[in-house]
Symmetry: C2
Subunit: 389 residues, 2 copies
Amino acid sequence: VDEGFGPANLPYGIAVSRRFDGPRVVTRVGARVIDLAALAEAGVVRREPWWSQPSLNAFMAAGPAVWAEVRDRLGEVAGELVSSDAATRSRIEAALHPVDDVTMLLPIEVGDYVDFYASEHHAANLGRILRPGQDPLPPSWRHLPIGYHGRSGTVVVSGTQVRRPAGQRRGDPDPAFGPSERLDVEVEVGFVVGVPSTMGAPVPVEAFAEHVFGVCLVNDWSARDIQAWEGQPLGPFLGKSFATSVSAWVVPLAALSGARLPVGSAGRPLLPYLREPEPWGLDLSLELLVNGEVVSRPPYASMFWSPAQMLAHLTVNGASVRTGDLYASGTVSGPEPDQRGSLIELWGNERFLADGDEAVIRGTAPGADGTRIALGEVAGSVSPARTRR
Amino acid sequence: VDEGFGPANLPYGIAVSRRFDGPRVVTRVGARVIDLAALAEAGVVRREPWWSQPSLNAFMAAGPAVWAEVRDRLGEVAGELVSSDAATRSRIEAALHPVDDVTMLLPIEVGDYVDFYASEHHAANLGRILRPGQDPLPPSWRHLPIGYHGRSGTVVVSGTQVRRPAGQRRGDPDPAFGPSERLDVEVEVGFVVGVPSTMGAPVPVEAFAEHVFGVCLVNDWSARDIQAWEGQPLGPFLGKSFATSVSAWVVPLAALSGARLPVGSAGRPLLPYLREPEPWGLDLSLELLVNGEVVSRPPYASMFWSPAQMLAHLTVNGASVRTGDLYASGTVSGPEPDQRGSLIELWGNERFLADGDEAVIRGTAPGADGTRIALGEVAGSVSPARTRR
């Protein structure tokens, strides 16, 4: 599990531990986390109030020049870790902790959470399941990245147990109420906004890297029976809002510079605000595990809409973004049957999550130095529904 | 305009002024605002850090016992205002400011913003317009309060100019892009959460008053052409997310105790979690003005779902609420043609908002002392779309 956390990665998270006071910004190299507040104390990175905070937000708001500077210094630290020179190592010794000695918290204070629907394979699969006999894609699908707002107050960090939601589902003649019988997962990739924008001023596709700080993995837990009954005409609500899990680590965009590749919308006729010189996505290899068994390998390379297109669309009406805003890709599904990112696509209505089941999403990407880098996993197990009424 | 701000009202807001330092929690009596930080200094209300903050959130989180205590003291202060005893008045003199000398800010730091669809007349009107020939209400409509999440980062206070959004709309054969040609308003009532709930623990209908602090007015600006093209299958997104305006004043629930009346769902067969002994709504008389002319008088008394039912539904799946969460009723439309709360319902496709138009929503309610109390107005004028591409 320490693989993928080499010097090409250097993700950020928030840790607490009996070994230091309060939450700290940390990065990770192998099996060790590095406390940035201690590095600042040692004069290795700039002293700022950012490092002893319960979220990455203050650091993320500082902008790309600062992100690059800090990443440079952390790269040097990662080199010193393997240095044979004791004096060199002693400079950073106080900042090092075994990863098993810390508890990772939710890394960001989430502003608005938006969920897109950017995989053509997923949208088509769901369209065939939910609206059989009709065109599986809505008419606007290839013209704009469809999305909706989710609940930011129930975004939780990997490892948090997820209670099975209760709710209404279709019944005959009257709706039934009870624990969801169709609890599903959605394998997604999330993008975290660092630098805010101004209300009324759209963020053009070219300005993506001036605003977006990094990438996390997302499990958009979904209760299919609740979702199907409530969803018209205003979209998903309680079928999704009970929990959304994110990885504890946010991988900075700079770590993914070697993972860029064209997305499905490249070369398509698009309205000008969605045109990029080279619309690029990310070559992330994802895995969905249920109870330790890999059940799917969704390739993020197969997405239609790019991260920059999603942000440009989200703001083209003048909506502003804030530090901590999270937007997710929507379920990542590839063209092959074993590349689907949700259980309803993989298994139809045959099987959903049982109480006690654990779902884990993992991902890796090619690093700039030829190694592979890991995205932090998103794990969550299902606890039984509350029985109240 | 000072009418409706008598001692039966005592709403809360956030003000800045050259007359004092920083934002302050204030209430209003007639043409004067009363600075609670100054009252605390004078020993009239408890000294707390709440009063010198940029939002009501800290005060709202303190809970119903504190809300009642502070309201009692403010009631005494309102009495002292008209006292002929100079010594009595001098105690509060330093806290008083002419309402014209302060600028009101957004009163709450918004957590999640949810918008319901709780007026049967509105839902049926829109269903007939958008899905002609079909049953105007979706099958779940009378079984649950349909809702969705909106964008909390673009909630703005009354008086903020709203820029006309640009976006995609349906075209033939390809979609068009440009400033919305169908900019509309929605007259709504908002409920503000003070006391948070725990994830996994639904808030039952009986616990409504333990969590909800007060009421504001809401204009859910809507670009009908953007909304129609993007909305399937995930609901409203950019057609709504550019701006949502709220009143500067939050009227505490206690002020509305004389305004309770049964809602449309009273006596209907409902699932147990939505049953209230007496599901009550509020007898709020609303007005929509365009450029100073009253164009509609939507009665909040005509709503189907109650505020407590909306909160119980919102949390029945285990979703938590946070201090500052805002949930709105959805457009308030009564049964009569001149009681509709949106322009598309009032005027079809004949007329929408032009640049420079001002929309104002006002509301009053019966106060407990026989006078009428005013909800703060929500005003906003339309500025031209950005012309960028």
